[in-house]
Each structure stands twice: as structure tokens, then as C-alpha cells.
């Protein structure tokens, strides 16, 4: 068995590159990459970046879909002192441009993307050859309070905001992640479901690379075809599963999703949305030897900060599943609306204080100042906007949101973001976006829209047109499934749109 050095994330990956250079670091469809290749290629590309980049700490965007070359770009960025910004190819072009207008730096276009500062896939491969054998001195590596990555997430203003995560955050996060479920994950295979632009993917990316494991990616194409998906899962021989609960639900709909398909599976790690007891129960029935771990945390505090293993007792309690106990270095506080600390199991806003709280939003101090700060003892905190309470045992329970943010199939969505983008359509006069529920879960988004002129002969065709136009600006998971056309929106006594009445109408 390998022994793992403690220390920074990059030094752990370096250790794997030296001691397990032929092991697979990543598998994605037909492509794969060994630790040796990952290290050597990211060294070359880091040297290239040092030669070509004018601003030595500007973020480097990496655009593509789960290809091993993206991983090379991520490491090359941090080895040359730049944070990386992962952008999945499923993000609509206008949103990518919005992100690039904020980051202002280079973009490594692993998949084709037209942009003045795009470095094409071909150019990256030339650079790898040209700079083969060269590397960036370790003094350039991002460390401590330097920004390691920036993840862009839905913002209520209609424009995505970038969460800055420091090297220290990453290095304090991954050892805890590797301890989840008390399994030894050294050299194991980790299932990747989420796109790299979604912070859930940081879980398996950090865990696998730091412990010499294999990041086994499920590409979009595979996820959209159950038969291909199951064939791929069977080939994975994975020990560690990381996904949203929704994705597990989707797999569970097929009876063949059981231990025969993934005989080596030891642990399911969930994050990103509420895990329901029904999902946990089915997983324990179909995978009797695997542990189910529920975790909680926003992008602003590096993936997750609390964890709990879900056992039969919790499933059978009839209560919603708790999100668990804090990792070392983190404290959970519950505040009332005036920022006063609540105790004794009272419900309030969940505030996360500790060593993995983000450095704030990129170039948006106005937004950062509202939700980030320092406690009296100097610990950095983040106000999550989540509502919850801590029980007598010190276990955190999540109840819901305090604002208009929702989780749909694990995706974090600001309803305001959808509204702002619908409002921009020239034929729309006003709009409200709402979650629609089915069996107690959010099943889709509905938009109630008022038009200033007719654009199609039926409401259905109007809805189709709106959805089609939204594809230009919103990712697919943010496009409302249901569009209701109304003459006017109901208002409350003080003249605001009556969201509650519309929500009740919607059911």
C-alpha cells in the first residue's frame, strides 16, 4: 500500500507522479492519461504559460468537456501561478463570453471556442511538444492564499459570479474528503458525474489525484443514454461514487443498478442537494456492502464541510436526513437575521466559519462584502443563505433557502438569473420564475410570462420560441420546462409581484 505525504495538494500529486507514474490518473471515454503524462505535460504547458502570459496571476479559463487535456491545463495553470476557471462545453456561448469578460485572461479552448484570446487545442498540443522536458520552477506554484480555481455559479443579477478558492482551501479540503466513510481510498477509481464547472467535481478530482487514484469520467454523451451509461459503469470497477442524489435516483430507476454492476463499490458520497431517505434506502438494499455518506456545503466553502454516514436507523426515523458533522477546521454557526448567534437548536441562517471558506467573488467586492466576513477571533466566515439548525448532538440539519435560490437535479440556480434573462427578450414585458413540485421535490422550473406583443399563434408555440431563445443565454438546466403566458401578474398590497399567489396557482 502507498503511504501518502501530508502537505499541499500539488505536492501530493507530484508524489504520485514520481512513485506511480504509470498509473492512470484519468479515464474519459476512449481517452486516458497516466500520472507521469499528467505531470510532464502540465510542466511543459506551465513553462509555455510563463513565456507567453503578460499578467502573471490572471485566471486561465479552460473550456471543454471532461477531456484529459483539461486536467493538464488545470495543473499547468496552478504550476505557473494562475488560478484556473473550468468551463464546461455545455455552457451557452453568451454565458462563456460573460465569464471571459470577467476573467480577462487567456482561455485554453480544449474544445473549439471562437475568441480573440483563445488558445486552440492544436496550439496547446504544439506547445506541449515545443516545451517538452521544460517546467516551471516550484516558486511559481500557487500556494497558501493564492487562488487555485475560480468557479462561476448562477448569480441573481443575471450574470454568473466567480467563487475564488485558495490553495489552502483545497489542501485543507481533500484530506477530509478522503476520510469520508472511513474507507482507504488509496489508488482507487472515482466516478465523476458532474461537469468540471460544477464544484461537486472538485470532490473526486482532488481525492483521486491526491491519493493516486483514477478519475473515471461519465461524459455527457454517456449520461444521456442509459444503456451506454451502464456499460461504462460496468467497465469502471469503481470503488468511490460521487454524484448528486438526482443522478443516483436516475440510475436506481433501472433494476440492474446494483452491486453486480459495481462489485467493488465501497462508498457513495452525495452533495449538491437534499438526499432523500428513499434514495438512501434503495442504495443500501442494492449495495449492501457500500456506505452512503451525505455531505453539505456551498461552492463558497470548497465543496463540502459536513458529513454523516446514513445508516438504517436514520433512514427509518421518518425524519429528513441530517447533513451531519463539521470537518476539522470548520465551525457551523446559526444566526438570526440581525447576525446574532442562536443556540439550543433554534432555526436560523447557516453560517460557515473556518479554513476552507472562499476568498470571495472575483472582482465583485460589492457581492462579497454582503456575505463574507471575519469573526471576532479572525476566522473567515460565509453566510450561506441556507436555513437550518444544529441539534443536541452537534449535527447540522438543512431546511431550505432563505432567498430565491433553488437546487434542481443538483444544479444551483438563482431564479433571479432566469428572470433577468427572460426579461431581456424584446417581446417580454414581465416575468416570474418559480419552482414546480412533484411528490414533494422540485421537478422543474415554471416561468409565468407577460408579453408586450404576440410572437406566435398559440401559447405553446410562444413557449417553444421563448425556450429556443433562452438557449442562447442560459444553460439547459436553467430553461423553464413550463411557460405560462398571462395578461398580467398579480400584485400584493404594496404593489410587488405576488410570488406566493403564483406559486399556489402553480401547485
Amino acid at each position: 500500500m502507498n503511504t501518502m505525504p501530508s502537505g499541499s495538494f500539488l505536492s501530493c500529486v507530484h508524489y504520485q507522479a514520481v512513485s506511480n507514474s504509470d498509473s492512470l490518473a484519468m479515464v474519459s471515454d476512449e481517452q486516458s492519461l497516466t500520472y507521469g503524462q499528467l505531470w510532464r505535460e502540465s510542466d511543459s504547458l506551465a513553462a509555455y504559460i510563463l513565456d507567453h502570459s503578460c499578467d502573471n496571476t490572471a485566471p486561465i479559463a479552460v473550456y471543454g468537456h471532461k477531456s484529459p487535456l483539461m486536467l493538464v491545463c488545470f495543473l499547468a495553470a496552478v504550476k505557473s501561478g494562475h488560478p484556473y476557471v473550468p468551463i464546461d462545453a455545455s455552457v451557452p456561448d453568451s454565458r462563456v463570453l460573460d465569464i471571459l469578460s470577467q476573467t480577462k485572461g487567456d482561455v485554453f479552448a480544449v474544445s473549439d471556442f471562437e475568441h480573440p484570446s483563445a488558445i486552440t487545442n492544436e496550439r496547446i498540443r504544439e506547445a506541449l511538444k515545443e516545451y517538452d522536458g521544460r517546467s516551471a520552477s516550484q516558486k511559481y506554484w500557487v500556494s497558501d492564499d493564492d487562488i487555485f480555481y475560480i468557479l462561476f455559479t448562477s448569480g441573481s443579477t443575471g450574470s454568473p459570479k466567480g467563487v475564488k478558492v485558495t490553495e489552502r482551501c483545497v489542501s485543507r479540503f481533500f484530506p477530509w474528503a478522503l476520510s469520508l466513510g472511513n474507507t482507504d481510498k488509496t489508488g482507487q477509481t472515482f466516478i465523476n458525474q458532474a461537469p468540471f464547472s460544477f464544484d461537486l467535481s472538485v470532490y473526486e478530482l482532488c481525492m483521486s489525484l491526491a491519493s493516486g487514484g483514477t478519475l473515471f469520467c461519465l461524459t455527457k454523451e454517456k449520461q444521456e443514454n442509459s444503456r451506454l451509461l451502464f456499460e461504462t459503469l460496468a467497465q469502471s470497477c469503481a470503488e468511490v461514487w460521487v454524484s448528486t442524489p438526482s443522478f443516483a435516483d436516475m440510475c436506481l430507476a433501472d433494476m440492474s443498478f446494483c452491486e453486480n454492476l459495481l462489485p467493488n463499490l465501497e462508498v457513495f458520497i452525495f452533495c449538491g442537494e437534499t438526499l432523500f431517505p428513499s434514495t438512501a434506502r434503495k442504495l443500501r438494499e442494492r449495495f449492501p456492502d457500500a456506505k452512503v455518506v451525505n455531505t453539505y456545503g456551498p461552492t463558497e466553502s470548497t465543496v463540502a464541510v459536513t458529513e454523516i454516514e446514513i445508516d438504517a436507523k436514520l433512514i427509518d426515523s421518518g425524519e429528513p436526513l441530517p447533513v451531519g458533522f463539521t470537518k476539522p477546521g470548520t465551525r457551523i454557526l446559526i444566526w438570526d437575521k440581525d447576525g446574532k448567534e442562536l443556540e439550543g437548536g433554534e432555526q436560523g441562517e447557516i453560517v460557515i466559519a473556518g479554513d476552507t471558506v472562499s476568498a470571495g467573488y472575483y472582482n465583485r467586492d460589492d457581492l462579497s462584502n454582503k456575505v463574507f466576513g471575519y469573526l471576532a477571533d479572525g476566522t473567515r466566515y460565509y453566510k450561506t443563505g441556507d436555513k437550518g439548525y444544529v441539534d443536541d448532538d452537534g449535527c447540522l440539519h438543512y431546511i431550505g433557502r432563505l432567498d430565491l435560490q433553488i437546487k434542481l437535479n443538483g444544479y444551483r440556480i438563482e431564479l433571479g438569473d432566469i428572470e433577468k434573462n427572460i426579461q431581456k427578450l424584446p417581446y417580454v414585458s414581465s416575468v416570474v420564475a418559480l419552482p414546480a413540485f412533484r411528490n414533494g421535490k422540485i421537478s422543474h422550473i415554471a416561468a409565468i410570462v407577460c408579453l408586450n406583443r404576440a410572437i406566435a399563434e398559440s401559447d405553446f408555440k410562444t413557449g417553444l420560441r421563448i425556450k429556443e431563445d433562452l438557449k442562447e443565454t442560459l444553460p439547459h438546466y436553467m430553461i423553464p420546462r413550463k411557460i405560462v403566458i398571462k395578461e398580467s401578474l398579480p400584485t400584493t398590497n404594496n404593489g410587488k409581484v405576488d410570488r406566493k399567489a403564483l406559486q399556489e396557482e402553480l401547485g
Binding site: 449520461q223 444521456e224 443514454n225 442509459s226 444503456r227 451509461l229 451502464f230 438526482s246 435516483d249 436516475m250 430507476a253 433501472d254 433494476m255 440492474s256 437535479n409 414546480a436 412533484r438 421537478s443 422543474h444 415554471a446 405553446f460 413557449g463 417553444l464 425556450k467 439547459h476 430553461i479 423553464p480 420546462r481 413550463k482
Partner: protein
Amino acid sequence: MENNELEAAILDLLADIAADDVVYDERDIDLFEAGLLDSMAAIELLIALECTFSVIIAPTEVEREEMNTVNKIIAQVKARM
């Protein structure tokens, strides 16, 4: 169950899941392209078909192209009754 009754019941189910009554009229539109179904909703539909009609269609046994319109879905269920 009579043919018409079966069709009506499937339509009700679809209208519920797609959250749109348009499925009663537009039986040949691609439900995925129209944004009325996505991967999760398609799975919900399969589960609902099993609960309502005891028709088991495993997600791994059908391609999306075989169940992407109202009429194709009705045909898939009928073929298994």
C-alpha cells in the same frame, strides 16, 4: 383496459410530468427538443408507467429516439401490455 382509456391515461400521466396540456394535441413533437422532457423527467415517466400500468421499461432497454414523442410512448406501452 380499452385502447382509448389506456391512451387517455397515458396522456394524463404525460401532461402531469411534462407540466403541459399540449401533449394532448401535439402527439408527434419531439418532447425533448420542445423542452417538455429531460433525462430526469424521462426516468420519472418510466417509473410512473410502471406504477400505473405495471409496464416495466428499463431505462437501459430503450433509446431516447424510441420514446421521444407522445405517439411513440403510447406505442411502447401498448407493445408491452
